[in-house]
């Protein structure tokens, strides 16, 4: 195997808590991300001096998430001054994109150790930002370029004839899997305790283990009075940060680090904005082709659950096995801090490969504006 492959050496995240009412609403996003990075470095015992760059994903990099947040997080995490920092925005795909950039740099010989992080405080910087200012002429010509995410979820539900019951069954499963994972302690390893005004936050706050199919059926449509998508079948607005340590395979070997998985292939692709939820289909097909494997070779999949409708459409189009998807629950239950989710699901997929002894994993997500991003991981 080519030694310029990148490997995932460690993964950590903050608790994910609901925006505005959750325990992390009062915590600044830069501080939140720095805490997670600091903990990741400590847990992996990598030498901070060896880190080339901290690449940080964030979907609305303004206000407290503004300036060059990547650099500020590196400084706040007390990484050596020589460690660089960059902020990258591909909306929900931002921190997976950070990993792709690290893997690319490693392949190019442009560094050996990268911190790939992501953060979003949806409490403190609203989705859409403080100053939404679409191009008025372009908006008239192509309003779908600025379409709201909920509307795209309805479009996908309609296009794939996904009724409420199907979406709710999917959401219910996600809640059950997440509740099981938490109850049996399978989430504890990845969570970094965060100091907040109310005390130290150690647990996720979005989970609703009490959810039943009946309680889901009772909700009103969230985006379209005549639609099928509800708050229960959508990922909640969330505060959270996640980080993954990506190194060259060679570096990991020489420094006795234990990699979780190899980044085997990556891809991004666009789709029509009004059905952005199907973005993972094109991106995953490309990534699988680049890895030279088929869907049937995948042992597990982390498929981001922006909405149940969109996840179900991806499962259908890609022919995924539902039993191998989101083993510890997905974003509908855990939450979806936009910039942080890519690092969470890719780090999670690597961790799960190790835990289950599988060989190939796919992590993929849809992206507002009409895109998909995908990463194929391989066990070492």
């Amino acid at each position: 195997m080519d030694s310029r492959y990148a490997v995932i050496v460690g993964y950590a995240r903050s608790p994910f808590t609901p925006a505005h009412r959750g325990a992390l609403a009062g915590v600044r996003p830069d501080q939140l991300a720095a805490e997670v990075v600091r903990s990741l470095i400590a847990r992996t015992a990598v030498s901070p001096a060896d880190i080339e760059d901290l690449i940080l994903g964030c979907a609305f990099p303004e206000g407290e998430q503004g300036l060059n947040l990547g650099r500020l997080v590196a400084l706040q995490a007390e990484l050596p001054p020589a460690v660089a920092g960059a902020t990258v925005n591909r909306f929900c795909g931002s921190s997976m994109q950070a990993m792709h950039m690290a893997a690319g740099a490693i392949a190019l010989g442009a560094g050996d150790v990268f911190v790939c992080a992501g953060v979003e405080s949806m409490s403190r910087v609203p989705m859409g930002g403080f100053n939404p200012l679409p191009h008025p002429g372009f908006y008239k010509r192509a309003p779908e370029a600025y379409i709201s995410m909920g509307e795209t979820a309805e479009n996908v539900a309609r296009a794939y004839s996904l009724d409420r019951a199907a979406q709710e069954a999917f959401a219910f499963d996600s809640q059950q899997k997440a509740a099981d994972a938490r109850a049996s302690g399978r989430l504890a390893d990845e969570i970094v305790p965060i100091a907040a005004a109310s005390g130290t936050v150690t647990e996720d706050g979005c989970l609703r283990p009490e959810t039943t199919l009946a309680s889901l059926a009772a909700l009103r449509p969230a985006f379209d009075a005549k639609g099928t998508v509800t708050a229960g079948t959508s990922s909640p607005l969330t505060d959270g940060a996640a980080a993954v340590l990506v190194t060259s395979e060679e570096y990991a070997r020489h420094h006795s680090l234990t990699p979780l998985a190899r980044i085997r292939s990556v891809a991004v692709s666009g789709c029509r904005p009004e059905v952005m939820g199907i973005g993972p289909v094109g991106a995953s097909k490309k990534a699988l082709a680049r890895a030279g494997i088929a869907v049937g070779d995948l042992d597990l999949v982390e498929l981001n659950e922006a909405f149940a409708s969109q996840a179900l459409a991806n499962i259908r189009d890609l022919g995924l096995d539902p039993a191998r998807i989101n083993l510890d629950g997905g974003a509908i239950a855990l939450g979806h801090p936009l910039g942080a989710t890519g690092a969470r699901i890719t780090g999670k997929a690597a961790q799960l490969l190790k835990r289950t002894g599988g060989r190939f994993a796919l992590a993929t997500q849809c992206i507002g504006g009409g895109q998909g991003i995908a990463t194929v991981l391989e066990a070492l």
């Binding site: 206000g63 859409g128 403080f130 100053n131 939404p132 200012l133 679409p134 191009h135 008025p136 908006y139 008239k140 309003p143 600025y146 709201s148 909920g150 509307e151 449509p221 969230a222 985006f223 379209d224 009075a225 005549k226 639609g227």
Partner: protein, 776 residues
């Protein structure tokens, strides 16, 4: 409001987390105090503070809201009486609000007594137990610290506080508690004697009981009784039976029993006899009123039903309007009481007995007639107290009628003198010794009613007047129906700007003593003009309002708005053009124009934008003030308190909130004087508006609301116009700041377009007809 420290009370402990205790806790939190709410410890539950915690949780959801701001909940800590005596002892004022049983209360006092710090006040919120009984057997140290503070339900909204000091109460402690209740809690404090039921419940219970007995005796229907004893008598429309349902039928026998036990045998209340047997049956059946399965009224399958007092059977409510009630609309209280109908005679029987009772007991229960009147206005929501009613009827007329029926005429009524008179412009009242004495207002209390009594206005027309508040400060008063603003209101504001400097005035307060500051522009004018297609007339009225309000803002003297109650639409726009606001805590502000299918167009959009754009705490970039203004206006959001109005951006942080309504005018006047020296109008604000880019962003948001089913089709149209106005129109560019006039021009153009739509005209007509918005 913060900074209660100068009053010597910073923390309030409340024992008893029932409806009253929790409500008092909320009002103390509203006042800025640190609050500890305790109840008995819960054994066997997860928390020993479970009872107080549950009460605290209920407060957050109470309707009408007990808290003036959700954030104030954090000022209320919880505990229990077993474990937290030490924490209670740290409070500056401890209020006991437990069950009305003297022995239970005394047991609590005995536990408190050893831990009391010197200077701490302890009071009971009892409504029925005499102070003497409460302090029986307690040491002098405790009796010095002790008094009764009787709140009315709900404690946030009812302005009356009856205070009873005992012979041993430390006067300084009583004064400290009274001052805190007045200034911080916003209560009108009445010092009462230690007599059963104090003032309000003594008279109020008599009135309720008399009405109940007379209605049963005379075979008057429940609805007819409320129809004559409610609005026509200047009483809330719940009347008597509706009020009994509201407070709970079970309360009346309880209060009656304790009053009977304490009152002298010859008291007229005892003479009324026991409660009708029906009441006992209803209570036994759980029909205790709104909190039970219904009472005299009930809702069944969505329909309102009313009980037959004779049979106890329910039938559909018919909402009758007896001729006596109609007569009162034209001829006032006297026409009601003189009406020869069955209901008229019933009204006379109840009210004449109540008024005579008030006149009889006044010397024993209060310092003077004014205290009794104020107690009934603020404790029972009567428009006029019993002595004001007697004056309205004529004391001689009432005495004559009583004599004609062979009833005893109380000495206070016997000579037919009015209870109030004006001596050299000052209000005097008959005191309990039968002498006229000037009504004294506490320092810091200035009532427009007193100013009006003192002399003629500086200027007046049918809708507004200008008054001289003294010290070179004038007051602009609106007094049209519901204080709706019309061309005459504008003319008076305009006159103030022209006239005041010439007459040497230093500044102006905009204030009135109506229930509501102003419900907004008189939209009947809009309806007529639109129906006649008099578009230039509408254009003129819009321009006129903009011009006058701008002049207020640019006047060479400070203008301070001092509202209470509703300040909607045009009423809010006036305030947005004031240089500073001194706002009663119970002020409900909003730009509600979209409810009638238009946008604020007397400069309200421009002024709110300017205020939000210059707010020190605002987010950067052009959109945050635009979004905030858009959300408030498009949803016609009305604040549920002055504090919430601050959140919405209608108040600046430099504006002040006054808890006691009676102190608003004096405070506003003081603000004018403080600003007057070296006053210069604030320089015009330049607005960096986003133009079509921002408009597109708002349009996207509106589209989402429409899809969600939250915005109706015409909501979308109106919101589109509003977005256009607030973003500065098609030629606005964020790098070219504009002045407020640009936005005002857009306001007028938008309303002229909207007024031509049938949907807006339907909204205006519907609002005028029903008082409710049409969602077309």
């Amino acid at each position: 409001m913060d900074g209660v420290a100068p009053l010597g009370i910073n923390s309030v402990g409340i024992i008893g987390a029932g409806v009253m205790g929790a409500g008092i806790a909320a009002q103390a939190a509203n006042a800025g105090a640190k609050v500890l709410l305790v109840d008995v410890a819960s054994e066997g539950s997860a928390s020993r503070n479970a009872i107080a915690e549950a009460a605290r949780t209920r407060l957050a959801k109470s309707e009408p809201a007990a808290l003036m701001h959700p954030g104030f909940l954090s000022r209320i800590a919880t505990g229990n009486i077993e474990d937290d005596l030490g924490r209670l002892a740290e409070c500056d004022w401890i209020i006991e609000a437990v069950v009305e049983k003297a022995e239970v209360k005394r047991a609590i006092y005995r536990r408190l007594e050893p831990v009391l710090r010197p200077g701490v006040a302890v009071s009971s919120n009892t409504s029925t137990v005499p102070l003497a009984a409460l302090t029986e057997g307690l040491p002098e140290r405790f009796r010095r610290a002790f008094l009764i503070t009787h709140f009315f339900n709900p404690p946030r909204y009812m302005r009356l506080l009856e205070v009873v000091a005992g012979p041993d109460s430390d006067p300084e402690t009583v004064a400290r508690v009274s001052a805190f209740a007045d200034r911080a809690l916003g209560k009108s404090v009445i010092q009462c004697k230690d007599t059963p039921g104090f003032i309000a419940n003594r008279i109020g219970t008599f009135w309720l009981h008399a009405a109940l007995i007379e209605a049963v005796r005379r075979g008057i229907g429940v609805e007819a009784a409320d129809a004559v004893l409610g609005r026509p008598a200047g009483v809330p429309k719940t009347g008597v039976f509706g009020l009994l349902d509201l407070i709970g039928l079970d309360l009346l026998p309880h209060v009656l029993t304790s009053l009977r036990a304490a009152l002298p045998a010859d008291d007229a209340l005892l003479g009324l006899g026991p409660a009708p047997e029906l009441v006992g049956r209803l209570i036994a059946a759980g029909a205790t009123g709104r909190k039970g399965t219904g009472g005299f009224y009930r809702l069944k399958d969505g329909a309102k039903e009313v009980i037959d007092l004779a049979t106890g059977d329910y039938a559909l409510a018919r909402r009758p309007v007896p001729p006596a009630a109609k007569a009162a609309r034209r001829g006032g209280l006297r026409a009601l009481l003189a009406h020869s109908s069955h209901e008229g005679r019933f009204a006379f029987a109840v009210l004449s007995a109540t008024l005579a009772y008030a006149a009889k007991v006044m010397p024993d229960i209060a310092a003077d007639a004014e205290a009794v009147d104020r107690a009934m206005r603020l404790g029972y929501g009567w428009k006029q107290g019993p002595f004001e009613m007697i004056d309205a009827l004529g004391a001689g007329w009432l005495a004559e009628r009583l004599r004609a029926e062979g009833r005893t005429v109380p000495p206070a009524l016997a000579d037919g003198r009015p209870f109030y008179r004006t001596d050299a412009g000052r209000l005097s009242v008959l005191d309990r010794n039968g002498a006229y004495r000037a009504v004294e207002r506490p320092p810091g209390v200035l009532l427009l009613a007193d100013v009006k009594r003192a002399g003629p206005p500086l200027a007046a027309n049918r809708s507004a007047s200008l008054w001289d508040l003294g010290d070179g400060v004038a007051c602009l008063e609106f007094h049209s129906k519901m204080n709706a603003l019309d061309p005459w209101s504008l003319a008076m504001a305009n006159r103030a700007v022209r006239m005041l400097p010439a007459k040497g005035f230093k500044g102006l307060v905009v204030h009135n003593d109506g229930a509501n500051f102003s419900v907004g522009a008189n939209i009947a004018l809009l309806r007529v003009a639109a129906a006649l297609r008099l578009w230039p007339a509408i254009g003129w009225l819009l321009r006129r309002g903009q011009t006058v309000f701008s002049r207020l803002k640019l006047a060479p003297f400070p203008v301070v708005g001092a509202p209470s109650g509703l300040a909607l639409g045009g009423g809010c726009e006036v305030l947005l053009h004031c240089d500073a606001l001194v706002v009663h805590a119970e002020t409900y502000i909003g730009l509600v124009e979209t409810a009638v299918g238009i946008v604020p167009s007397w400069g309200g959009c421009a002024a709110l934008l300017a205020q939000l754009a210059t707010a020190p705490e605002r987010q950067g970039g052009p959109m945050p003030p635009v979004i905030k203004a858009f959300e408030a206006i498009a949803t016609a959001k009305v604040s549920k308190s002055a504090e919430e109005a601050r959140d919405l951006g209608f108040l600046r942080f430099s504006d002040s909130i006054v808890m006691n309504r009676d102190r608003v005018l004096a405070e506003a006047k003081a603000r004018v004087l403080a600003m007057a020296k070296g006053y210069a109008p604030s320089p015009p604000v330049k607005l960096a508006l986003p133009g079509p880019s921002g408009e597109a962003a708002l349009e996207l948001a509106v589209r989402d609301y429409a899809r969600k089913g939250v915005a109706s089709p015409h909501d979308v149209t109106v919101a589109g116009e509003l977005a256009h106005v607030l973003t500065g129109g098609s030629s606005a560019d964020v790098i070219v700041p504009v002045d407020e006039k640009t936005v005002r021009d857009l306001e007028r153009a938008a309303v002229l377009r909207l007024a031509r739509t049938p949907q807006t005209r339907a909204r205006v007509a519907h609002m005028l007809k029903t008082g409710k918005p049409l969602r077309n």
